[in-house]
């Protein structure tokens, strides 16, 4: 009842870039999240070229040194620089999580859209398949997949993607389902669109805002999952720098007081997950046309 009429002047937020700037300015938390994301992306792209030491080079003379000006995060048991390894690992960890999330996003959206739009037996069959996946303890399922397919980066990605598919499919199914009989879907049919086009062009994009929240939570979760797999030895093989393995290896030295081996990769892992979790609201606002005022 308090609907105010939109004013007639065009605003800066009308362009996509202007809108992104507006969303960032509007919410300092989003700004922080995007700044941290930029930092991690920077590490992923330029890290290997900028780090002070070769992440794989051993130096027995300076093994297990505490953090110092030479080695910010200290050195590990064979004298490798922990700081360089943590930074270099960013690329691998982000690749795994982004690829896994992208894969599950695409497959989950497709399956969910089909189930939500056409319903009927297709919906029933797809849902029971997804239920089956969700019935497994997800981490155990991922372990099983990697154990069966082999210890490679691709297989970690596939495993992480598979266990995430049901969440996307469920979400999209619900979002599509509530819109399949909406006026704009019917109007699109009258305008000569086939069912598939109505679904892909008109209905699906409207489910993006909640999907973005899911994506951001999932990115963090996928990093944890990949690190977890590596931690139990079912992931990336040493000596490749990866946060999970580094925490796993460093854990052996905590008892003897060399805390920096596990703490710094763990801290980076935490920061990355934190960043992605904070990102959600901002991403949602960016893809939501209603936020453009």
């Amino acid at each position: 009842m308090t609907a105010s009429t939109p004013d007639t002047t065009r605003r800066k937020g009308d362009t996509t870039l202007g809108h992104i700037v507006y969303v960032l300015r509007d919410n300092p938390v989003t700004m922080l999240a995007f700044a941290m994301l930029a930092f991690f992306l920077g590490c992923a792209f330029f890290g290997p070229a900028l780090v002070p030491y070769d992440p794989l080079a051993t130096n027995a003379a300076r093994a297990l040194e505490a953090p110092s000006w030479d080695h910010w995060f200290g050195t590990d048991n064979v004298g490798r620089d922990v700081f360089s390894r943590v930074i270099v690992a960013t690329r691998l960890d982000l690749t795994i999580s982004v690829a896994a999330v992208a894969l599950s996003f695409v497959i989950g959206s497709t399956l969910g859209s089909i189930a939500g739009y056409w319903g009927g037996w297709l919906d029933a069959v797809l849902n029971r398949c997804l239920d089956t996946i969700m019935a497994f303890p997800l981490f155990v399922l991922a372990m099983g997949v990697v154990a069966a397919l082999g210890n490679t980066v691709e297989n970690i990605i596939y495993a992480t993607a598979i266990i995430n598919i049901p969440f996307y499919a469920r979400l999209v199914r619900a979002e599509v389902n509530i819109r399949r009989h909406s006026g704009f879907a019917q109007a699109a049919k009258l305008a000569g669109n086939s069912d598939l086009r109505v679904l892909a062009v008109h209905i699906f994009p409207n489910s993006l805002p909640p999907m973005m929240v899911q994506v951001s939570l999932n990115l963090g979760w996928a990093i944890l999952n990949a690190a977890g797999l590596s931690f139990i030895g079912l992931g990336v093989a040493p000596p490749t720098p990866e946060w999970g393995i580094m925490v796993a290896e460093g854990a052996n030295f905590i008892v003897s007081g060399e805390w920096w081996l596990a703490v710094f990769p763990g801290l980076w892992l935490m920061l990355a997950v934190f960043t992605f979790n904070l990102l959600g609201d901002g991403l949602r606002d960016i893809v939501d046309p209603r936020k453009r005022t």
């Binding site: 308090t2 007639t8 909406s182 006026g183 109007a187 699109a188 049919k189 009258l190």
Partner: protein, 542 residues
């Protein structure tokens, strides 16, 4: 009993502060009904929320006094307000289904209020709740006590809401658009019920509505609000016959009523001669024995039972009925969004029902039959601009591209009176009337021969409705289109249609030329529909 003096309410929003109510004063006397009439955004609901102190977050009473029976409601503590709400002042809301808890039995919801205000104990709550349901004339109240809201019709739900509101015998009832979304006969039943109860109990009432006709029938006094101000106040009869303020005059003019032509709805300075439309003798659409059955829980449900009618080229046919009459199903089958169970739809002599709706988008006739949807907001993709909505049929069916497409979109916007700068806006940045124009522009983009209008003005304010109806009349004359106008509002159908069909429970019960059916209804159901429609007093100087 209630006295509001110089009340101002402001809301903090992202675009700065909005003054929703700007210094209004009004009084409600015991046992009297005050109508607050205004269009959306006029601040009429905010006024009632402010006096109940249930404003949304960000809303704040800036100045003014609200005194109820000697109590200053602005200064009252939240605890006192909780006692006043429900027991002294009660409210009924617009959407009865949303106002009821969907997972609790309605009887329990009535009990909650009684127990909360110490009007009943656990032991006698049930008996008192049933008595409260009986008071709002619910048949077989003892059985309805156990019903869930979804098992009841809209009108029945509104009765429950009224029962809850009146359970504690409040002294003042605020009814915020209590009948919006209800059928016209249900509207009459609900309003008569509320009016009778108010009279019986000597209860004061504030009726908030956008419908001046409705207010004039049930109120002792009416205030007209616009942009947070009261522009006029007075006796309903006098307001209609001799409106003082220009805005009141505009509202009175725009309210459809017997004896007014469609141009009379517009302000005097905008009235041009009504363009004539030519009806040819050739039938454009012939519907034969159309039947639609849905599988239901207890056997198949016949939504449309063997309906036949025809529309001549250039003719406008009104399809009237209440919810559940099958009028929407019929129109969706004609526009080929649904498949009939059996029957033929001959369009220009060709049976278009032979092509299933799922494949009809490639049918050469697709562009010839278009539709304007009921809810303009719902019918526009929230992610698309106005221009993209209008361009869609042109690009998909007429295969227009590039500058040719843009020119045509601009042309159409011009035709429906949509300012060009608005074309790049998203639906949520447009007003209701602007969205309706976008929907109409999209529907006429391909110059269809038949346009199906599914209550195109149901969600619009009366002054916007007047403009949109006149636009439709102009377009009809300009483009020689035939209309199938689906509506529950007989006053509107009367203005626009040559012939009318009255549907009830899937069957056509009455048909004929509009004037004949309206002035001389042969069927009892048509008569009840006409009688239920609020008849505003006719302005003398129209």
């Amino acid at each position: 009993m209630l006295s509001i003096k110089d009340l101002s309410v402001a809301f903090k929003t992202r675009k700065g502060e909005v003054n929703a109510v700007r210094g209004i004063s009004l009084d409600v006397a015991k046992g009297k009904t005050l109508g607050i009439v205004g269009e959306s955004g006029s601040g009429k609901s905010v006024t009632s929320y402010a006096l109940m102190r249930i404003l949304d977050a960000g809303g704040e009473i800036r100045t003014g006094d609200v005194v109820y029976g000697g109590t200053d409601l602005r200064a009252a503590s939240e605890k006192d307000m909780r006692d006043i709400r429900g027991r002294e002042i009660s409210m009924i809301f617009q959407n009865p289904r949303a106002a009821l808890n969907p997972i609790r039995r309605v009887g329990h919801q009535v009990e909650d209020v009684l127990i909360r205000h110490a009007q009943a104990t656990r032991q006698d709550a049930k008996a008192k709740a049933i008595a409260a349901l009986e008071a709002v004339k619910i048949n077989d109240a003892a059985a309805r006590y156990d019903a869930y809201p979804f098992e009841l019709s809209g009108g029945m739900c509104q009765r429950i809401v009224i029962a809850i509101a009146l359970a504690c015998k409040p002294q003042l009832l605020i009814a915020d658009e209590p009948t919006t979304g209800l059928d016209i006969t249900t509207q009459k039943a609900v309003m008569d019920l509320v009016g009778d109860l108010a009279r019986e109990r000597g209860m004061g009432m504030i009726l908030i509505t956008h419908d001046l006709g409705l207010a004039s029938q049930y109120c002792d006094r009416i205030v007209v609000m616009k942009d947070g101000l009261i522009v006029e106040e007075g006796d309903p009869q006098k307001l209609f016959t001799d409106p003082q303020h220009a805005y009141t005059r505009k509202l009175v003019d725009a309210t459809p009523r017997v004896g007014a032509s469609i141009r009379n709805l517009l302000p005097p300075e905008a009235r041009s001669a009504e363009p004539a439309h030519i009806v040819h003798d050739r039938p454009l659409l012939e519907v034969r024995d159309l039947l639609k059955t849905y599988p239901g829980k207890s056997g198949p449900v016949q939504a449309v039972k063997s309906v036949s009618f025809q529309i001549k080229s250039g003719q406008s046919l009104g399809l009237v009925g209440e919810s559940g009459s099958g009028k929407s199903t019929t129109s969706e089958m004609v526009v080929r969004l649904q498949d009939p169970t059996s029957g033929n739809i001959l369009f220009d002599g060709q049976d278009i029902a032979a092509t299933p709706s799922a494949r009809f988008m490639r049918h050469p006739m697709r562009g010839e039959i278009q539709m304007v949807f009921q809810d303009a907001t719902d019918s526009l993709n929230p992610r698309g601009t106005a221009a993209s909505a209008i361009a869609e049929p042109l690009a998909r069916i007429a295969r227009m591209r590039g500058s040719k497409l843009n020119t045509r979109v601009a042309e159409l916007a011009e035709l429906v009176g949509l300012p060009q700068p608005l074309l790049s806006r998203f639906p949520h940045q447009l007003s209701g009337g602007q969205k309706a124009r976008v929907g109409i522009a999209r529907a006429i983009a391909l110059e269809p021969k038949l346009l199906i209008l599914d209550e195109p003005t149901a969600a619009l304010d009366v002054s916007i409705q007047a403009i949109v109806l006149n636009l439709l009349v102009d377009l009809r004359a300009q483009m020689g289109m035939s209309y199938l106008f689906v509506s529950h509002d007989l006053n509107v159908v009367r203005l626009l249609c040559d012939e009318v069909l009255v549907m009830k429970q899937g069957e056509i019960v009455d048909r004929g030329p509009t004037a004949a059916v309206m002035d001389n209804p042969s069927h009892a159901y048509t008569r009840s529909l006409i009688e239920a429609a609020p008849q505003p007093p006719n302005p003398v100087a129209a």
